[in-house]
């Protein structure tokens, strides 16, 4: 019942608020805040109670829904979705609080829409039934459409329609793939079901069908992420959305794409994932570099942050498709990091926009002397986003690059250039906005952070520092799941190989013991010793996978 509670508390709150007559906006402001905070409080016990030693799905709930066609109401979280549920429930009150003055009219509708959106987002992360997942996935589009279209900027209608159409084209094809998978599984095993664990355990024969299904799923997720070249909706949507919308869009919605790759593409279509892995990695690396370059030249702060998301999410996808434990853990961690850092950047840009009604970098300069608190927080967040050691962004990017280096040093080298470019565009942004002399008279009287803004920024910054210093708080929860996921992908890919080719020589699956507690040291020592495991000339991707995931991890402490 706990997951049901976390998922539907916001919707329940929305229903209650719908019945309240629209007189005072403050009722809805406070009501929305209370509902989201209660939801957060309901989600925290999930983190505390989550047993990180087992990879299984926890807090599971199964109830028949449409038994005739094998659809059930199946919820559960594992180490990956747990973090994303927490991220979602954490960012919602922050986003609502950020809208306090920015949203001027129709507060009732705004709060109700945001709460329905939260139910949709949490639902996407906790559903373990493909039908249920698709229901949440699609349902969540509409509230976001309203948030952009009703409370957005000048080109809001265009941005909102573009957002919906882009996402919808991707997701309807995914629906066909879901149905095809359902039909194929049913025809092969006799049980027709949309239950994800059941479908995941089944080995889909490799070939054209699996590849087409993978592509359909991957397209839906790639649009959501967004992976280059499916990213063109993103700058419009981010720039036109109100601050609260941008925070949620960047913080949570984009993660649905990366989450989808992890939850569906890898375990359901392991063979196709290996076939198309290099393509996805290539697109991710292009996205990393391209996003960073485009960010550098943006005159609009919000657009800069929006394009930086393309770059950062490219890292996440890169990490996932390295198919190494480090890469995956880094990818998951980076999802959370990006949600916090980029969310905070959008918050800060929104705050300065509320004061000056412009977001152009050229309109600012020397803010440090006028608004030191704002500027220092801006600097901290920017540094976290560019991956300064000690802050959260570093940990995730480092792990991803370690993973990438093991698979292909050239890819890692190219991706690393993205880190450097991130430093370029973010530091240059800080330099032009914060440092130097005050260039515009209008900025002289700029108010520094108000108590409300302090209250909503401090928790984000605290988390940024905390994850930077003690990442195991999050990675500890997710490592077991990721090991199991990789082992599953590996064993399924091998099983498929058995069915189509010569049997494997070595025992196929070896537990990835040793990875959990000393992943850090293992990765570090490998980097230090300069001997990345090699697997050159491996004809089959599954061989490469086996080599990669079972690389011995020596227990050598870092000097």
């Amino acid at each position: 019942m706990r997951l049901t509670a976390v998922t539907f508390l916001p919707a329940l709150g929305a229903l209650v608020l719908l019945l309240v007559p629209r007189r005072a906006a403050s009722v809805f402001k406070l009501g929305g805040l209370v509902v989201t905070l209660v939801t957060l409080l309901a989600a925290v016990p999930l983190y505390v109670g989550f047993d990180d030693r087992v990879a299984d799905v926890q807090f599971e709930e199964v109830r028949p829904w449409m038994p005739g066609v094998g659809i059930s109401y199946h919820l559960g979280v594992d180490g990956i979705s747990l973090l994303l549920v927490l991220l979602t429930t954490f960012l919602m009150p922050v986003a609502l609080a950020s809208a306090w003055h920015a949203i001027e009219d129709r507060w009732k509708e705004f709060v109700v829409t945001m709460l329905i959106l939260e139910t949709g987002m949490v639902g996407v992360f906790v559903s373990l039934d493909l039908f249920l997942f698709y229901v949440f996935w699609e349902a969540m589009l509409i509230p976001m459409y309203f948030i952009i279209g009703v409370w957005g900027g000048t080109k809001r209608v265009y941005a909102a329609i573009k957002f919906v159409l882009y996402t919808m084209v991707g997701s309807v094809l995914m629906l066909v793939a879901i149905l095809a998978l359902y039909a194929q599984h049913g025809a092969a095993t006799g049980t027709y079901t949309f239950d994800l664990p059941v479908l995941t355990r089944w080995v889909l024969p490799p070939g054209l069908a699996q590849e087409l299904m993978f592509l359909a799923f991957a397209l839906a997720f790639a649009i959501k992420v967004p992976l280059f070249p499916f990213h063109t909706w993103l700058p419009d949507a981010h720039v036109e959305a109100p601050t609260a919308g941008s925070v949620i869009l960047a913080g949570v919605l984009l993660k649905m794409g990366t989450y989808g790759f992890l939850r569906f593409c890898l375990p359901l279509f392991p063979d196709a994932s290996l076939v198309f892995g290099p393509l996805v990695v290539a697109l991710a690396v292009i996205g990393i570099v391209y996003g960073a370059w485009v960010s550098t030249v943006q005159p609009d702060m919000k657009k800069l942050v929006a394009y930086s998301s393309v770059s950062h999410l490219g890292f996440v996808i890169l990490g996932i498709f390295t198919l190494t434990p480090q890469g995956l853990v880094g990818g998951v961690l980076q999802m959370v990091n990006h949600g916090l850092s980029t969310g905070a950047l959008f918050l800060l840009v929104g705050m300065v926009y509320e004061r000056r009604h412009t977001r152009l970098i050229a309109d600012f300069g020397g803010l440090w002397s006028v608004a030191p608190a704002f500027s220092s927080l801006f600097l901290v967040v920017a540094l976290s986003s560019l991956g300064l050691p000690g802050l959260n962004g570093f940990v995730g990017e480092f792990l991803i690059l370690v993973g990438a280096f093991q698979t292909n040093p050239w890819v890692a080298a190219l991706a690393t250039s993205g880190v450097i470019f991130a430093a370029v565009y973010l530091l240059w942004l800080c330099q032009r906005v914060i440092f130097g002399a005050v260039t515009h008279e209008a900025n002289r009287g700029l108010r520094d952070l108000s108590p409300r803004e302090w209250t909503l920024l401090v928790p984000v910054v605290v988390l940024i520092v905390w994850i930077g210093v003690y990442p195991s708080a999050l990675t500890g929860k997710t490592e077991a799941t990721i090991e199991a996921l990789l082992a599953q992908v590996q064993s399924k890919a091998n099983a498929q190989r058995v069915s189509v080719g010569p049997p494997p020589v070595a025992p196929a699956v070896r537990p990835l013991n040793g990875m959990r507690d000393d992943m850090w040291t293992a990765a570090g020592s490998r980097l230090v010793s300069g001997h990345p495991p090699t697997h050159s000339g491996s004809p089959r991707a599954s061989d490469a996978l086996r080599l990669r995931t079972t690389t011995p991890a020596p227990r050598t402490p870092l000097p």
């Binding site: 005739g68 229901v135 949440f136 209608v157 084209v169 629906l175 066909v176 149905l179 095809a180």
Partner: protein, 484 residues
Amino acid sequence: MTDLVMPPVLLGPLLPTLLVLGAGALVLLLDLSPRPQGKEVLGAVALAGIVGALLATLARWGKSGRAFHDMVVLDNFALFVNVVICYAAALSLLLSVDYVRRSRAESGEYYALVLFTTAGMMLLAAAGDLVVLFLALELMSLSLYVLAGLFTQALASSEASMKYFILGAFASSFMLYGIALTYGATGTTNLDRIAAAVAGRSHDPLFVIGMGLLLVGFGFKTSSVPFHMWVPDVYQGAPTCVTALIATGSKAAAFGALIRVLTVALRGAQPDWTALLWIVAVLTMTVGNVAAIAQSNLKRMLAYSSIAHAGYMLVGLVAGGMSGGGSVLFYLLTYTFTTAGAFGVVTLCERARAEAVEVGDYAGLAERHPVLAAALALFLLSLIGVPPLAGFVGKFYVFGAAVRAGYLWLTVVAVLNSALAAYYYLRVVVYMYMRQPEGAPVTYAPSLAGALALVVALVGIVALGVVPAPFVDLAQAAVAPLVR
């Protein structure tokens, strides 16, 4: 010389239809009473007749009945379609009470004609013989032709009526010719006996031409491309409450009869008509959706959208079998609530003393009448197929059946179409929520009955979306005896 034996007259299977016809006759009688006012009473009588028929239909569930030498077959399939038709008729009656009075077109004949056309629809779904099928079709159509021209003062309404009549007459004659040829080829007009007669020789040219002509008539009534030309003009010109009935009830009846003819009489030729319907489905979906994008009149847009939805239902027909047929029946149910609701909102909105029919008229509706705007938004979202509303589940079952039957590419075309459709449906939402009105704003034309209809439709689309399982099971059980 043998005595002439009177066949047993079993009126039981006709009971729902007779109730509706009786109510129609009663309405005509009451209308003759010299009281000058009180047409609402007639509306109430008509509604009572429909509700009575609905209850009688529900009470007969599971009891298959045949009458008049299998000419009328009231099996579960007919009962399910009848339930859909009764809902369509009831919603349309509720919407029309205040609407026709406001338009100064109130008359006793209106209610009587609605009842007669409903009776025709119900009989159509239960027709086990091509002669009854034609009879019912004409009863339904002739009443609808008159209803479409109800606004005698409005040019568009008369034009709609005229076009509907002429094109409808063409379709009927095609159908009649097809029935004649089929009779010539098989020596019978009974659906079961046709199937038996052509078993093994379904490529008899006479039979093929006959059935082809019959399908042309069905294409017209189900508004499938290329027989859809009448739809936009008639939907736009007819009084909106009549449009709602044409879009929902008559379509449900036509699809019901089509499914029965295809699965019973044409059982042997399934690969042939499946290939034909495949093409028709793709054309219908695509033409409907592409043309809808260009419309600025809401009724006309919904007309093209209803063409597109006929295309989705044809996808379910192509899939065939119990799951395909069942999914079409379920789709009809969801589509009826959604479309009747969408047209219902139109009947309740007026701008500058005229009906609000342009999409632009709805600018700013969300601020002035948030509940009405939310209702229309929900109906449109259901038409797009956004979960958890009924339209999504309907599409899900249809597409699921198609994929399971192996029609993957047809499904891909269908889902891309439904993504395309999001554009024009959302455009209305854009006007309601994101634009300010220019000139006089749209206002709510108060109507208690209309509001009740909207509530019923809203409850319908939410309930069918969240707990579809029982209804889907019923729909599949209804098709089971046909496909065997």
